[in-house]
């Protein structure tokens, strides 16, 4: 893994790991805004649910396990994935292309827990609080999602990841799983759910995790009132092989990678080996799920030796296409420009 930070732990998957539909948990990126909880005791852990509900609840892990379990294969991506590729550069963890991974998340539906507590009509947003250890006077990591997304049948309180209990890095014993949305929506080490009558007000809702309402020129400042919360992921593809700057022998080269689109589906992935002049369809992998990436591959036979730029471009079911140039924003969120690797064929 690529060590972006040891304290707090921020680990990035090298893109060459993206050759399996489900990312092995030890190779799944880790994003922490703060210290991980020092102590996590499964038997003493409780999840409280309050706010705009008729009957506030407190659930133990054993009680959570008694609820009907649902599974969602989801591609989870940090909003800041690709930040290091923005120009001018912006502050934050300087992720390359690998703050993304796919896993089968399992646990009860948030919908079922909210229904059990008796949702009041005044409930419009659902707030999550985790057990992150807050350093100094840093605001706690608390965010909220709109009630419509909270009640979606695929929004979970996940206790398992690809068949095993969540590891500490990934939010043991329970985390929110808000499929198709930026990773920050899926709060780890969940301890409190609160139904609110409005969006939560706090640093990680504003000014954090916001995008300009209108495109801005690279480097421009944006007023807070001209922004909105980042929610669903963009359409995006990455090339996981051949890796950048590699030397290849003449013959068949399989270009491969992954493509995802948040709440939309990948329709096609195109490959160019001539700097974007012509594009050819890649073959999409058979494994698919609504919120999960599609692996793809393209067999290429270079006609001659030399230097090549290989590019990948995804299109989704909403008609979104990866842009040729990055769409800049002051926090470097949702970078999704056409991907490119440079190789030498001899």
């Amino acid at each position: 893994m690529i060590l972006r930070s040891f304290r707090f732990v921020d680990l990035e998957s090298p893109v060459e790991y993206f050759n399996t539909w489900l990312t092995p948990v030890p190779h799944f990126f880790v994003r922490n805004h703060m210290h991980e909880p020092i102590e996590l005791d499964a038997s003493g852990w409780r999840l409280s649910l309050g706010g705009e509900v008729e009957k506030p609840l407190t659930l133990s892990l054993a009680e959570l396990f008694k609820l009907e379990t649902h599974s969602v294969v989801n591609t989870l991506e940090c909003a800041g994935n690709g930040r290091s590729l923005q120009r001018p550069q912006v502050p934050g963890i300087q992720w390359g292309k690998g703050a993304v991974g796919t896993a089968r998340f399992s646990g009860p539906r948030l919908h079922d827990i909210l229904q059990r507590a008796g949702l009041k009509p005044s409930g419009k947003h659902v707030m999550f609080r985790g057990l992150d250890e807050v350093p100094g006077k840093v605001p706690p990591f608390i965010r909220s999602i709109p009630i419509e997304k909270a009640l979606d049948a695929d929004t979970l309180i996940a206790t398992h990841m690809s068949g095993s209990p969540l590891t500490k890095h990934h939010g043991f014993p329970a985390r929110a799983l808000v499929p198709g949305w930026i990773g920050a929506a899926s709060c780890k080490w969940l301890t409190e759910i609160k139904v609110l009558d409005a969006e939560f007000v706090g640093n990680f809702m504003s000014p954090g995790y916001r995008l300009p309402n209108q495109p801005v020129k690279p480097g421009d400042a944006v007023k807070p009132e001209d922004t909105h919360a980042v929610t669903a992921l963009s359409v995006k593809s990455v090339i996981s092989g051949p890796i950048d700057s590699s030397s290849l022998k003449m013959g068949k080269v399989t270009v491969h990678g992954a493509a995802w689109a948040g709440e939309a589906d990948i329709v096609k992935v195109e490959i160019s080996t001539d700097g974007g002049t012509t594009w050819n369809l890649a073959k999409l992998g058979r494994d698919q799920a609504h919120y999960a990436w599609r692996l793809w591959s393209y067999d290429w036979k270079p006609g001659r030796g030399g230097d090549y730029s290989i590019q990948s471009r995804a299109t989704d079911s909403q008609g979104r296409v990866q842009p040729e140039t990055p769409v800049w924003n002051p926090s470097g969120y949702l970078y999704n420009a056409v991907d490119q690797v440079n190789v030498h064929v001899s």
Binding site: I2, R4, F6, N19, P26, S84
Partner: protein
């Protein structure tokens, strides 16, 4: 003693991953030498490690915002040191510096099949 344990080894313990053979990274990287090194270490590294700073490439205006935000969030910066701290960070971690090369922590043998 803690400094002598490599981040690679420690992450191998915490993640169960075998350590990679590449040059091990110390748990704590150091900030660059300079008049403000000690004060920057005290102010910034109480809450997070140096790599979070080492990987940034920001303008002086952006570093000014960061220093003021972090001071509000608890970083202990003597008002008399603020401008010098901003100069130190924006001189050492400006956009024209070479790209930061992060260390790796584990082997690269992802399991499973490739292709579709």
């Amino acid at each position: 003693m803690f400094r002598k344990i490599s981040a690679v080894a420690l992450l191998a313990i915490t993640t169960g991953l075998p350590a990679q053979k590449s040059a091990p990274a110390n748990v704590t990287a150091d900030l660059p030498a300079g008049a403000m090194q000690t004060r920057a270490t005290t102010a910034c590294l109480e809450c997070h490690e140096a790599r979070i700073i080492l990987q940034q490439r920001l303008s002086k205006a952006a570093w000014t915002k960061e220093v003021d935000k972090m001071t509000k969030w608890g970083a202990v910066v003597d008002p008399a040191d603020r401008d010098a701290l901003i100069d130190y960070l924006s001189t050492n971690f400006s956009p024209d510096k070479p790209a930061y090369e992060p260390p790796r922590t584990a082997n690269k043998n992802a399991s499973g099949k490739s292709g579709d």
